[in-house]
Symmetry: C2
Amino acid sequence: MKYTAHINVMPLKELLDPQGKAVNSGLHNLGLLHIQEVRIGKHITLNIEANSKEEAEQMTQEACKKLLANPVMEAFDFNVVEG
Amino acid sequence: MKYTAHINVMPLKELLDPQGKAVNSGLHNLGLLHIQEVRIGKHITLNIEANSKEEAEQMTQEACKKLLANPVMEAFDFNVVEG
């Protein structure tokens, strides 16, 4: 069966996010003064051919741990849906 | 009231995503052969001080259009939640 994984990889809360800070300033310069605490990470979608949702989730977890997220600096979460 | 916006900015479906292709190959090299069609975009979270959810959504939309997404190459969607 086909599954789609939606993965978010975000910088750890404890760490500074310079890209987020820069975008925060940019938004303020554009007049959006009520926006704060911008944090920027990655959103990854991928298709998986697997026998069950559990298997697809296991493969997604493995992909995140082995390649997609750097555990020193990033945390990930994901959601696997059918189709 | 405080709101949090979760924004996804993804490369348009019609366009090649070279970063996604590279990660796809990387995952195959790691033995994850059942993963296909990797696409990589940005996930952005930000806090908004607004009077209503509608106002927060409007500000998020404005931030996406003015700075966060490049409409020539990217599409965005977002979800605003309280707190």
